[in-house]
Each structure stands twice: as structure tokens, then as C-alpha cells.
Subunit: 299 residues, 2 copies
Amino acid sequence: MRSMPTDAHVGAKFVVDRIVGMIQGVMRDAAREGELDDDAFIGIGLGSPGPLDRETGTVLETPNLGWRNFPLRDLIGKSVGLPAELDNDANAATLGECWQGAARGVSEVLGVTLGTGIGGGLVINGEVYHGASDVAGEIGHMTIDSTGRRCACGNYGCLEAYASGPAIAARAVEGLEAEAASLLPDMVDGDLDRITAAHVSEAIIAGDEYAADVMRETARFLGTGVANLVNILNPEMIVVSGGVTRAGDHLFGPLKAEVRKRAFKVAADACRIVPSELGDTAGVIGAAATFHLARLGPI
Amino acid sequence: MRSMPTDAHVGAKFVVDRIVGMIQGVMRDAAREGELDDDAFIGIGLGSPGPLDRETGTVLETPNLGWRNFPLRDLIGKSVGLPAELDNDANAATLGECWQGAARGVSEVLGVTLGTGIGGGLVINGEVYHGASDVAGEIGHMTIDSTGRRCACGNYGCLEAYASGPAIAARAVEGLEAEAASLLPDMVDGDLDRITAAHVSEAIIAGDEYAADVMRETARFLGTGVANLVNILNPEMIVVSGGVTRAGDHLFGPLKAEVRKRAFKVAADACRIVPSELGDTAGVIGAAATFHLARLGPI
């Protein structure tokens, strides 16, 4: 897989040109190596943060990228000269795990992606469930504490305000400012503003007790949200992905415990909570599946 | 429709005998009036609080009735001598609204039943969605305030701890104990323990400002939970039922406002939030539909 930073702050046109350039690069390299000629490329599957409109291929709103009513699918499809299909990135990642990853053969699956935001993808009866207007699965702004932490969206107590990457870093910094003993300050030369969720995971692996505490607390918040989803959706499997899952049992142990504490027993018993198998490639594999399902039928 | 109190405290056998007696009464009366003979009755549809197991027809657990692993379907079916099918009462009510009520012709519907507990039923693509183990739609114990009010289930901050009938009454009483001015104390001869959510609705109709305040607050809590469901499920319609809906705009006004405040705009715009059309009969009509769908195919 190839990857590049989005660099969304440079502008939407820059991001589109960069994606088009990467697609053309893949096609050129495959042709040069004699693996595939141009005819072998039949279309483009795209996964993007949402909410979005699949029918028009438009990204309606992305707080984290700053796009509004942005015709991503056609801009990329026309530039490359191939048909394209667009779906939500979390939906694509969940579909990827169902097709080639942790959820092979499972028909009721919820994918939870922990990153800058918290995304959700919902597979019901083996198909992505989109809801009435393609927005289903937006779990990041689920209120778990209506009088709690302020979220970037303006509301209070959203899951994202506790368990997204930036929220984990912010909560870690709060404790350090209250002088918790930790390896974290040395990892950023004392500049606490530079601390990210990745530093918290690294510190845990290095044996840092404070970082492990921050992760346990994260897992309890996340478990509250996941328990809600277990009760509402009664899925067979929840696949958790994102850099934070590197914390392993420091995340999954207290997460599962909180779900058992808060969800109905029959629902909790029916649901396996597992880490992603495909990691960062889940979204790309799932985006390819999205194109196939939309244009060519079942895989 | 005929109805009788459950009187669950007398015991499970008493409840089953009472239900069987009512079914036999309906059949006898129809025969006596020459409307239908016995052959016209082909089966029994049952809606019960859950969680339950549809395959075995067993109610697994009902905190409010005190049943555990209770073979309700076969006890009633065998006593009456007809095949029976069992589903969750909230699922049945939602199916009823889809077949004959407020959600006719709508394919993605969430039913929310406000009563002693808060039940949810989920119709996706025109069919009840049951999840991996028949528990999907259990929205009452969704955490909306993880450090909030204690719930009967033992956790803190469940939706039911704020917006169920008993929770509305309890919150109303708290304010009265703090000496809020209201018609409510006179309605129960000063015995605040007798106040129910129905009294709150009656007091609102009589112009009581304090009761209207309690309902507005209820609607905001409920709106927090409903906004979560709008983001997660992106339904076309949410049908709200239960005695509390008699409060009309005192409930629906602030409920819709809270959903607009907390849910994604595209999801909130796509979702109509309406009161039940069938009221108490939704569950019975839906239970009949449950039997038909299970044994005879699409209606």
C-alpha cells in the first residue's frame, strides 16, 4: 500500500491532485513492471470521511478536513479517466475486514475506527448499512456524558471528546500538568503540546504506569460507548482499528470489562470484540470492495 | 382490544393463565356472535418485554416482570392449542406502526416506547432487525451521562434513569420536595409517593408550569438519546409511543430541538420524529404481523 499525508490545510485541489497522482503512479508502475496493462484497471473505490452522499459522490461535510459539498468522486474519476465509487472511510474499512480481515464470514459487524475522529461502519446481513441518507454509523458524536467534556463539534460529552487520538493526548496532558510522574514529558523534550496518542501507546510499551492509567480510562469511556452499541445493534463482532490498538490488552482488557458491566448479558455474550487484522489497509481493500459491489455485484 | 393488568407480582403462572383466558375469551365471543368459528384462528402472536430467544420462544430476562428463562411461547401456545410466535414487545409495536400506523410505507424505522422501561424496535428494509441474538434495539440502558443518575439496572446514567415513567415521576418529586409550586401535590392528596408520569401529563394539560418544566427536561434527556440513535442508525422515521406522548408539543418540541442540536444535520434532516398512531394497540397489531411473517410470509 502507498500512503501520503492528506495535508488538507493546503487546500482541497491539492488533496485531489495528490490522490490522482498516486493512482496514476500505481498504474504506471504496474505497466512498467509488466504486471498489468491499463485495461486491467476497471475503476476506483474511494473511502472518505463523511457525512457524504453516495449517489452524487459528494462529501457533504468533514469537520477534520474542512470540506463542504465537495464532489470528490467525480473530480478523481474524471481526472484518472475511470469510473469511481465513493463510500464513508469507516464503512470501507469495516467492509474490508469482512472481506479479507478479522470479520471474514461474520454477517453482523460493527467497525470502530479510533483516529483523529471516531468512525463507525455497520455491516448487516453481510452488506454495509447506510441508513436513510448515507450517514448511519456516525458513532463518534454519541453522547456518553451529557454534562461532560466539550467536543470540537460544540456539544458536550461526545465519545470523541474522550477516546479520539487528540482527546487521549489532551487527557494525558491534563494529568501531567497536575504533575503525574511519567516518561511522557521526556519523550517530547518537555513540550507537552507535542504529546500525541501514539506517545501514550509508546510509553505504555516502555512500562509507564501513568500512560497505562490514561489508556485504562480511555478504554472505560470507549467501553461505555461500545456497550451502547452492543445493546442497540447486538452485533456478532466489533472490530476496533486505529493506532491506539497498539496498546493491546491495556486497551482491550478494560474495554471488554466495561462492556460486560454496562451491556445486557445476552448481547455482550454474543459479541466478540477484536482488533483489526488489516490495520491501515482495511480502508483501501474495502474501498475496492465498494467499487466491486456497486458496479460488478457480489464479490 | 382487550387489556388487563399484568399483576406480575402474583407469579408467572398467574400471568400465563390470564393471557390464555383472554385469548380463549376472544375466540368464544367471536364464535358466539357468529363472526368467526374456531377454524378462523390460525395462530398466536406474542409481544413480550425482553431480552428473549425467538427460536425457543423463551423470555431470557425481564427486570420489570422478574422472569428468567421463561418458556412463554410454548406455555401459551400449548394451553390454547394453536401455534405461537414470540417477539420483543417494542419490536412488535414498531412492526405494527409500519404495517398499519404512523410508519406505513417507511422502510427504515425506529420505534421508541416510553413506559415503565424504555424499549426500542428497529425496522430495516421493512423487516424487524433482531441482531446476533435477538437483543437489538435495547435502547433503554444506553448511557447518556456516565456519571449521572443511578439506574435500576445498577449502572449510572442510562436513558431509562431519566425518561422512563418512573424516572419522570421521581424527578418531578425531587423538585416538589425542594418546594416547587405545582398542582401535582393536590392531585395525590399530598402523598408525593403516588405521583406518576401520567399525573405530570395531566398537570401540564391543566396549565401547570412546573410539570411543563419537568417534561421539557425529560424531552432534553430523551433527545440526547434519540440524537445518538439518529447518528448511529440514520432512520427515516422515529415513532414515539407511550402515555407520556399525551404531553404533545411539551414533549415533541424540545425533543426535536435537542436532536437538531446534537445530531449530524444530514441525519437529523432525514428523520421525521412522530407520535404513534396506533397507541396501545400497536403491540397487538404488530404481534399478529409477527406471526404472519414467521409462518405465512410477507403481509
